[in-house]
């Protein structure tokens, strides 16, 4: 199904771009590959590692990141990891122990374990973790989500691989053990209160230093031309690595040759173990001594475990005895297509009444949104990650005068002698999915793209990735909501000309348990993570979101509509479920993205911040406290549709898509205003020296806030020791 929607969108964009097509290899290799400069391409992959993280948060997240880094290493002839992104979904950290269903770990225990797992793998490997997000919703109580992504850099002439008949099958790196047996199947089953006991053997055990040693040897071997192909051992271990690499040739594997952590493994266990830090290479016989010597010199184990025999069969042997044989053709194409029913019934809209809106107090709501766990500062997490190793850091995850404001996206310069940079961001909003997964998906794409654009990415060179995490898709209604999201992905990607370059999904994310003799099931909210990889021709054009100077002008770009559905303002006022969910007007979005990029590349923009959770009020507050400056704005001046009559709380807190706040120096006023018609761009105020944010509506004062107080509300939630 994803082939007919998401992949189809990419194909149609590539056809349209024709000679200007900048996709190199998409949905084919272990990661998507796109063009970067004349000599290098970049790769991007985001994986989920949900099930293992639920029962063993540290090990699950640790090997989640380790695994996606191996995806980078196993792309083409081996890409060099450049930076990582990590996104998590948890239940509320304030849950009482008594309220937990049986068999689940407390969210705080999961959060701390997951963060430590990512930290220890990324930091030890020396790959900066530059971007991320954390979403909280109590429906993740039994199924936390852990998304790990990695960007790589690869020379253009090393972007494709081709194993040759009679190449040796060589395994490099870690030894094979009983860890991670049936990890692949575990990742698709429903979790229950028994999972910890029954499935803990499916969790892998990571060792980042071994993977770093493999990486060091692999890059040298790649540049010396010592192998014809490489892939990683991920889900399925040797079985999928050898099975994939030998698809067009055939392979014979001598399972007794695999180096083991301890004796006693059966040949089946050796074949399917998901022990970590192993890469499989296709090595011409004459190059093997040189590769072996190189690996030995850095204390990395390298072993021949078979040969790509040109038989068209996958043959397994153990001590000379044949223990398995299947034709490659059957292995890859033999599975009958699965047909499932999908049904979609739109959710009944619930009207947001005037009395509901009257309950929304601007002051209290703004502080509550800033303290809400989805919005609040994640400094506690970010500072534990090395985000600067490799020295490519241009825009850091925390920015501003005190290095503590929330950046929209990270900017990284992967080659220190080349000004070209990459931008990494994400978009996700499970709350919108409670209304309509179509608009949730559209909004997520818009958010991921606008985050990249906000720091200076060229909107015509952004590639995106999808990670669908859904409930039990045998249920037609659940599958229906997935199909609807996929259709949105197809349509919006095509309109934006933003191709999907890779993706990975995780289904059946449900948790079952017995309570008072009754079987209960909790399903996660429909969760779509969109990760975006943008590019800028010159990193010195990039901008951050912190206010820069008193006297500068503040513009709101984009149209604010009555779109309070799924908003944080309603969430913190216990009104979630009412109103209209934000939609995307793709034509308008593209026009705005192009104008913002034009302004940034002409260096007319001093700061830029996208509007997302919490709308205008939250975005202006963040810009002020990040810059240590106040501002006065008037919501009566914001661009709205003439037919819509918006009251003040909607102007403050609506979460309409494709909107930015932009700070411009007075001398650039005319040039900036020339970028878009007044219906899409309007000056709404100025930056001021006083440490106060004042929000007016014509003559009326809606908010007078100390920026220090706002910052305190934003920082206190995760001020964990």
């Amino acid at each position: 199904m994803l082939k007919e929607t998401i992949f189809a969108a990419t194909q149609s964009i590539r056809r349209e771009l024709s000679d200007d097509d900048w996709c190199v290899s998409v949905f084919k290799d272990n990661a998507g590959i796109v063009k970067f400069n004349d000599d290098h391409n970049i790769t991007f992959k985001v994986e989920t590692h949900n099930r293992p993280s639920a029962i063993e948060p540290y090990g699950g997240a640790n090997t989640g990141l380790g695994g996606v880094i191996r995806d980078t290493m196993g792309t083409g002839m081996g890409a060099k990891p450049v930076c990582s992104t990590d996104v998590f979904c948890f239940a509320s950290p304030d849950r009482s122990y008594e309220s937990l269903p049986p068999g689940v770990l407390h969210p705080q225990r999961i959060i701390k374990g997951v963060v430590a797992g990512v930290r220890d793998y990324g930091n030890r490997m020396g790959i900066p973790t530059v971007n991320g997000a954390v979403y909280f919703d109590d429906r993740y109580i039994g199924n936390p989500m852990v998304f790990c992504g990695n960007v790589g850099l690869i020379p253009t002439d090393k972007s494709f691989k081709e194993p040759q008949p009679n190449d040796l099958i060589v395994v490099l790196g870690g030894r094979t053990g009983r860890d991670g047996i049936h990890g692949a199947t575990f990742s698709s089953v429903e979790l229950t209160d028994k999972s910890e006991k029954v499935s803990s053997g499916a969790v892998q055990i990571g060792n980042a230093i071994v993977e770093k040693m493999v990486l060091d040897v692999m890059l040298q071997a790649r540049d010396q031309g010592l192998y014809n192909a490489v892939t990683d051992c991920g889900a399925g271990g040797f079985s999928s690595a050898v099975g994939e690499m030998g698809e067009d040739i055939g392979a014979e594997v001598w399972l007794e040759q695999a180096p083991l952590k301890y004796s006693g493994l059966s040949y089946t266990e050796i074949w399917i173990s998901e022990a970590q830090e192993r890469m499989v290479f296709a090595v011409p016989e004459e190059k093997w001594p040189e590769l072996k010597h190189l690996a030995d010199s850095e204390s990395v184990e390298a072993t021949v475990i078979g040969r790509f025999t040109p038989t068209g069969n996958l043959t397994l042997k153990f001590d000379g005895t044949e223990v398995g044989c299947l034709p490659m053709e059957f292995l890859h194409g033999g599975r009958p297509p699965v047909i499932r029913n999908a049904k979609y019934r739109p959710a009944q809209p619930v009207e947001l009444t005037e009395s509901d809106l009257k309950r929304i107090d601007p002051h209290e709501t703004l502080h509550a949104i800033l303290s809400a766990p989805n919005v609040a500062s994640k400094q506690w997490i970010i500072r534990q990650y090395d985000h600067e190793v490799l020295a490519g850091s241009v825009i850091k995850p925390l920015v501003g005068v005190k290095n503590d404001g929330p950046s929209d996206a990270a900017v990284v310069q992967p080659l220190l002698d080349c000004a070209r940079g990459i931008t990494i961001s994400c978009g996700m909003n499970p709350l919108y999915g409670d209304f309509d997964t179509y608009h949730m998906a559209a909004s997520s794409i818009d958010e991921a793209v606008r985050n990249c654009v906000a720091v200076g990415a060229d909107p015509t060179r952004i590639g995106i990735l999808d990670n669908f995490c859904w409930g039990y898709t045998d249920r037609p209604e659940t599958l229906g909501s997935l199909v609807r999201a996929a259709i949105a992905c197809q349509e919006v990607a095509k309109e934006f000309k933003t191709p999907f370059i890779s993706g990975k999904d995780s289904l059946n994310n449900e948790f079952s348990f017995n309570e008072n003799g009754e079987r209960k099931t909790i399903s996660i909210p429909s969760t779509l993570l969109i990760s975006a990889l943008g590019q800028t021709p010159d990193v010195t054009q990039c901008v951050t979101m912190d206010m820069k100077k008193a006297g500068n002008l503040i513009y709101l770009v984009g149209v604010t509509r009555c779109e309070m559905g799924g908003s944080h303002a309603l969430l913190v006022n216990q009104l979630h479920g009412k109103g209209n969910v934000p939609q995307v007007d793709t034509q308008r979005s593209v026009q705005i993205f192009n104008a913002i990029y034009s302004g940034i590349s002409q260096r007319l923009v001093r700061s830029c911040h996208d509007l997302s959770e919490g709308g205008l009020a939250t975005a202006i507050a963040e810009m002020c406290f990040a810059g240590g400056l106040g501002a006065t704005i008037d919501v009566a001046s914001i661009p709205v549709l003439s037919e819509e009559n918006l009251i003040n709380v909607i102007r403050l807190f609506s979460e309409s898509n494709s909107r930015f706040l932009v700070e411009v120096q007075p001398e650039n006023k005319a040039d900036f205003e020339a970028l878009l018609p007044p219906a899409l761009l309007s000056q709404i105020g100025t930056v001021c020296e006083s440490r106060t944010l004042t929000v007016l509506s014509g003559g009326e004062t809606l908010l007078t806030e100390s920026i220090d107080g706002l910052k305190q509300s934003w920082q206190k939630t995760f001020d964990w020791k």
Binding site: M125, R383, A391
Partner: protein, 263 residues
């Protein structure tokens, strides 16, 4: 002596700042070679070819046992005698972050006595790995790498960076011996609880220098966290340390007379 020094960047399993450290030395005018510790252990005489030896950042051997400990064993067993002669030979040794931890645990900065090492680097007081930028000031030392430096703004990224001493007497001897090369500018800038805000030490001659902050992560203007606010600096702070090392081999009359002042 050749005016362009040759710098050895020592790699080990888990070293991960070798590339940018190498680039920093090259930008400053040195030639560099990265060599794996296995090769150096096998042929220690290779070290003699170099004017500068640098132990870069990372997690050598996973920092198992404690940060830098296993690599320190290898250096102490196979390279110590050669490296100990470096100061008399007018050569330099630099240890950054994990490299500083290695230097401390080999005894190249503070010698052990019959009770073991009187000073070391241990877990940050906050108990966790921390990445942030800090303001630094040079202490009173003869450190070659800090000649003319007035202040520095550099990132730290470590879990075990708290400088500790066995007793008051040890601290006195480090201070009086002119070994306090680099300090966090004040208590609020001290990210790990180091005693006396110590961020870096030199040996008494000033030829061996170890520091927790990462100068190789501030060799380009766009690495500064405030470049979008304050503009692009012509001279990123971290470069000074590498330039001083190179200049030392170019100027016959060291210390350098052209003091560089940094904001």
């Amino acid at each position: 002596m050749d005016s362009q020094p040759l710098a050895l960047i020592v790699r080990s399993p888990g070293t991960n700042c070798d590339l940018e450290t190498s680039i920093a030395f090259q930008m400053a005018g040195a030639e560099t070679e990265c060599i794996h510790i296995n090769s150096l252990v096998e042929n220690p005489e290779q070290v003699d070819r170099f004017q500068i030896v640098c132990f870069p950042g990372g997690f050598s051997y996973g920092d198992d046992l404690s940060a830098g400990q296993i690599l320190a064993f290898e250096v102490a067993n196979r390279l110590f005698d050669r490296l100990r002669r470096f100061p008399q030979e007018g050569k330099l040794i630099l240890g950054i972050c994990n490299g500083f931890q290695v230097l401390m645990k080999t005894g190249l900065l503070v010698s052990p006595d019959d009770r073991g090492f009187p000073a070391s680097l241990t877990w940050n007081t906050n108990g966790r790995y921390t990445d942030r930028w800090v303001h630094l000031v040079p202490g009173e030392s003869r450190c070659v790498f800090l000649q003319g430096v007035k202040s520095l703004y550099l990132p730290i990224a470590h879990g075990e960076g708290r400088f500790v001493v066995r007793d008051e007497a040890t601290l006195d001897s480090i201070v009086n011996g002119g070994q306090v090369a680099l300090q966090y500018a004040d208590d609020s800038e001290n990210p790990n609880g180091s005693i006396a805000n110590i961020a870096g030490l030199s040996d008494p001659t000033g030829h061996v220098f170890g520091l927790m902050p990462h100068p190789e992560r501030h060799i380009q203007a766009t690495q500064h966290p405030h470049w979008t606010r304050e503009g692009l600096s012509e001279h990123p702070d971290g470069r000074l340390i590498f330039e001083n090392a190179v200049r030392y081999f170019q100027n016959s009359t060291f210390p350098a007379t052209s003091a560089v002042s940094v904001k």
